[in-house]
Symmetry: C2
Subunit: 397 residues, 2 copies
């Protein structure tokens, strides 16, 4: 167990000033004038800053990043299919170590205050389980600094790449926490078949699912119906997420309402990056209906995009800009997508800034949560399970 | 005249390594192994960094910012009209010094590497010329650190607020560089009348125009026709800009093509902020047609929006994200909107990183221009007309 940490003179969640004692990896006390109980406790002056819970990056691809390498010009054409094929060629040429690259991105995420990650990891007949094995190893290396959920992700499709179904099941047996999917109709040309395959694996192994859905308009929403139906039939309520779901921003109110009812009934979460160039799932309406809405970095400097820096406060800002959130309510919802919304979607236990919650938190300068979204201040201190893992934007691990 | 500045070991525009000598406020030499000609010259080690021209923030509202004040929750409703009215009420209550507030924002912009600003300044029967007078004074204060163009901006409308036409003319006589306008149809309900009034003033005083156009779809594009026609009739070719012009992203190819032909014929510039929540003028197509496309911060932490930080490299990133620019060509175009595109739209002379250009430049770490857009590095040095005005993100003025 780590030593106690006493953070004095901070404002948890932007509320009134208090001291916060972290003990045995949990928030032990919040109150005025706390004293360290252990002689070896570390005492930190929070200097009136804000204490927020560890950020949740709910959608990464940490096996793909080019971070720290010389500039790689983006080469792919505009479609998902182009990007899948181009990535194959580019990565084959580059011969990268997935483990080394992933470690760079994880350190960056930690330095930005991320304490929980859900990452997809490519599984296909060419890659096999090698990316997964690399990430399992990296997860072990960083286990005291960040929690990582791994989604076995059929980036190249499920049915169109024979052998992938078996590999996805192997991946779950080897340690993947969830099964992924991608555009069952648009990429695999067999929505029912694709979904049947991945839901079968999930049910058999008692794991959740997180499905990439870029398919647009009616085609996308139709697949939300199919996903919801299978969530019910396979008894996976509360264990399924849909990532992107641009389509929810493209249909009329009545059609949206029918999809929403299914999402609510099956407690399906929705992930949005707030992508600026595309339609977007209406975050506010989903949130108001009780859907866990969360966000993530998605690709960071990889063959899919040259953009990204794994900063979930910046992500919250991008979500706010995408949805035109200007009021305090809106900015707080943007913050929610990078914190509690992610915790809900990922099924994290003990998440939050109350006594008894996990000792996962970030110290920043700022007046209130809204201002933190707008200004994205330096992470002065990042604590994971009661250990200091980053200070002044530098990760120690 | 300032002393010479010799910046050694830099890569102008991301090209090969050279030294750059700035003398009498201009770029005097670029080459290997330059030596200071003056004993009192300042020699700076560029450490292999990139030297880029001073950033151009082509659309600000520096008379409006709440920067540095306690958090002001956003209160306005969703329409332009709501925001105009709410701002009136909020600012009346707050009793701010426009001069003090503007100085904060200008310093921030300088610290981010901005060397040229075009700002709109509110003119209406209630405010009169007081905001303009404040900005004229601030412009004088900062004249060695940043160049500022002032647009006499009828924020509350022209015809619907009697007396505004006369005030706009007074503003130009008092020192405003351009005349503004705003949604001639949507706000003033008289597109022709509004435009006739502002074009008359512009022609009479030989100044340019920069018109806010939020009106959407066909209504917006119709007004582009009207603006182009008046640009021709009043002999103002090359002196007119349209800000936002969301409508250009909302009409079909044929309609867009007709508007584009008029824009090209009259050399009208288009400003986009890359707003993520709205349709957008198609930057790439406009640029390819030869239109100067530029960008700007727009409001920074004011009654219109809580967002913004006056960082034009971040703005370039937001433009890139909005238009899904991932290739080097796209990222370079995003950079262009914050640099050369702004210089062209603002009619700046001697802009660029070649010998003979103005000594306005920014030193940053980065591999190439594309990477600078993606990573938005700290501005290590900002030089304006041969004077160092900021170092390590801190403005000296």
């Amino acid at each position: 167990m780590p030593n106690d940490i006493l953070i004095k003179n901070v404002r948890p969640m932007g509320g009134s000033t208090a001291d916060v004692l972290i003990r045995n990896g949990l928030i032990d006390q919040i109150g005025p004038d706390l004293a360290p109980a252990q002689p070896e406790a570390e005492t930190i002056d929070g200097d009136g800053g804000l204490l927020i819970p560890g950020l949740v990056d709910g959608h990464m691809h940490i096996d793909k990043t080019f971070l720290g390498l010389p500039w790689v010009p983006h080469q792919a054409g505009p479609t998902t299919f182009d990007r899948i094929e181009t990535e194959k060629v580019v990565r084959r040429t580059m011969q990268l170590s997935v483990e080394e690259q992933a470690a760079k991105l994880i350190r960056l995420a930690i330095s930005k205050g991320t304490t929980h990650i859900r990452t997809h990891v490519d599984i296909d007949p060419e890659i096999g389980l090698s990316n997964l094995e690399a990430l399992l190893s990296v997860r072990e290396t960083f286990k005291d600094a960040v929690s990582i959920q791994l989604v076995a992700f059929p980036q190249s499709g499920v049915l169109r790449r024979p052998g992938t179904v078996e590999l996805l099941e192997e991946a779950v047996k080897a340690g993947a926490d969830l099964v992924g999917g991608i555009d069952p109709a648009g990429l695999d040309q067999d929505a029912a078949g694709h979904l049947n395959a991945i839901f079968d694996i999930a049910e058999r192994h008692g794991v959740g699912l997180d499905v990439h859905l870029h398919d647009l308009g009616e085609l996308g929403v139709h697949q939300i119906d199919l996903i919801a139906e299978r969530t019910r039939v396979h008894g996976l309520k509360g264990k399924v997420a849909i990532s992107h779901a641009y389509c929810l921003g493209m249909v009329d109110d009545a059609r949206f309402g029918r999809a929403l009812a299914l999402l609510v009934e099956n407690d399906i979460s929705i992930m949005t990056t707030g992508a600026a160039h595309y339609p977007a799932a209406p975050v506010l309406r989903l949130h108001e209906a009780g859907i866990p809405v969360f966000s993530g970095s998605d690709g960071v400097r990889d063959a899919w995009t040259p953009h990204g820096n794994a900063d979930m406060l910046e992500r919250a800002m991008l979500v706010a800009l995408r949805f035109n959130f200007r009021t305090d309510e809106g900015l707080n919802l943007a913050f929610h997508t990078a914190t509690r919304g992610g915790a809900d979607a990922l099924g994290l236990e003990g998440y939050g800034m109350e006594v008894g919650c996990a000792g996962d938190m970030v110290l920043v300068e700022g007046e209130n949560l809204q201002e933190v979204v707008v200004s994205r201040p330096v992470r002065k201190l990042v604590v994971k399970a009661g250990r200091i893992v980053a200070r002044d934007a530098l990760a120690f691990v």
